[in-house]
Symmetry: C2
Subunit: 292 residues, 2 copies
């Protein structure tokens, strides 16, 4: 890899640039972003130069598209005629099926692999970029065809992913989206709905009297809808299905509470405890990964 | 206050004993608990002696009932004939209306004030007790009659509450329970229902692919139903109403998602962001309180 083009030099794109450098990458890093972001990214030493989209696409061995989902799809469509046949095109969108579909329509076979690094932080933008963002984090890859991952160019890219500290995982785009609906998009909706309901109940702000878990349960609700609009738009069916399955449990809980059917509630608590306990184990494991 | 009787020498009862000592209390601390707990509490230096329930009640200036809610109600009923008319009886139950009703039925007027320290940790039992548990924490008080708090004996007790670092707040028992349903009991159900649903979806444990907020959203789900059974049992109507109001927002979200009505979802996110942002401010404030 001699030239990397990063589309969208924000938190993720900027962090990947910094992480590559720290991992020993000594080729060129070209940024494609708004003039303001390019200026700031140059100032911060995150990229080597800025370039227009088509020019960057025609020069790059690795095209790294780190924009919002709908913009990723538009970028793929527009740069497709300019991408070299030995290049790797990848992205970081939070849903994968729509992006993989667009890529397989517009890009030559074998050039594209969808990506989703499970990394982030509260701040956004290139100012928040840091070389350690991917350290110990799972990075999901969704190839267009399962065999693609064996391609030499993909394997070189995967080596860089590992060098920046991430843990690559390969799965099908539709499986990714179904799982993410349950483990990421539904928790977001749960937190948002809870916080919205409490905002309605307490328009003057949170009451002094609240349990220790309320901060945990409303933290995700700080997320702006700007990020989530595209996610819901491109994963509507899975998110709807997850929400329905969850509301069925809430209705069970409500009926059991109303009728005082303690054994039914106890059974729901028991299943929940089991999952929550394995989440804790899992988190400990992934923290360990930070040091291996 | 020369003699404090602590009913239930667990995390809260034991911590109050340790906190009193650390704050300079030099009277007697009598524990009422199972023989095993009394032995351990003596070993750990948490209490000065153990005593049977009636004997402890007749000796104490301050009766501190730190048991599960249904046991608190039973203890109040049983010790009532033995409590001195100058004593203060208080409790730490997570719901207040049922306890205040039992106390006003059984105890002489002016003797009882309901209490709910907003403190806790994951571990339970006297082994987990620590003198700092109440530091910077809100401690809600729900008197039988508003005027009760002016009583000399209550004011002396309140001074100890402040000396152990807590921030006393006085409110009506029914207001307490309505608020707690929204800010504590509903978040618990939300976390439990989410974790139960994910346990059903992933019987083999959490998938590698999950958002950064899933640990936050399932942390409360570790709570055992043993603690929650009494809470739901004594706050059924408020918890049901809170759950219904919340499910109404979830149905709105579901309909808006299914129909792609982005402005409706955006409005729910905006209200949620507002609440979540004030939660953060509130938390910062209460952390500041730790140092004042």
């Amino acid at each position: 890899v001699r030239t990397v083009a990063i589309y969208g030099v924000g938190l993720i794109g900027g962090s990947f640039a910094l992480a590559l450098r720290k991992a020993g990458y000594d080729g060129r890093i070209v940024g494609v972003s708004s003039p303001l972001t390019i200026a700031r990214a140059l100032e911060l030493g995150v990229i080597d130069e800025g370039a227009p989209p088509m020019e960057a696409a025609s020069q790059a061995d690795l095209v790294f598209v780190a924009q919002p989902i709908r913009v990723i799809i538009e970028t793929i469509r527009r740069i497709a005629p300019h991408v070299g046949s030995n290049a790797v095109v990848t992205d970081v969108g939070s849903t994968k099926a729509a992006i993989v579909a667009a890529a397989s329509e517009h890009l030559p076979a074998g050039v594209f692999v969808g990506g989703h690094p499970m990394a982030g932080k509260e701040e956004r933008g290139v100012e928040a970029a840091c070389a350690e963002l991917f350290q110990g984090r799972v990075w999901a890859f969704t190839p267009v065809q399962a065999g693609d991952m064996a391609r030499t160019e993909f394997r070189q890219f995967l080596q860089w992913v590992e060098r920046v500290g991430a843990l690559p995982v390969v799965l099908d785009a539709s499986e990714h989206d179904r799982t993410a609906a349950l483990t990421s998009h539904l928790p977001q909706l749960a937190s948002t709905a809870l916080a919205a309901m409490l905002q309605d109940a307490f328009p003057g702000g949170p009451p002094t009297l609240h349990g220790p878990g309320l901060a945990d349960m409303t933290r995700l609700a700080r997320s702006s809808f700007d990020i989530w609009a595209d996610i819901f738009d491109t994963n509507r069916q899975n998110v709807s299905a997850a929400l329905e399955a969850w509301m069925a449990i809430l209705r069970d809980l409500h009926a059991a509470l109303a009728k005082g059917r303690e054994t039914d509630i106890r059974s729901i608590f028991a299943r929940a405890e089991l999952f929550a306990a394995s989440m804790r184990t899992r988190r400990t494991e992934s923290q360990d990964n930070l040091f291996t």
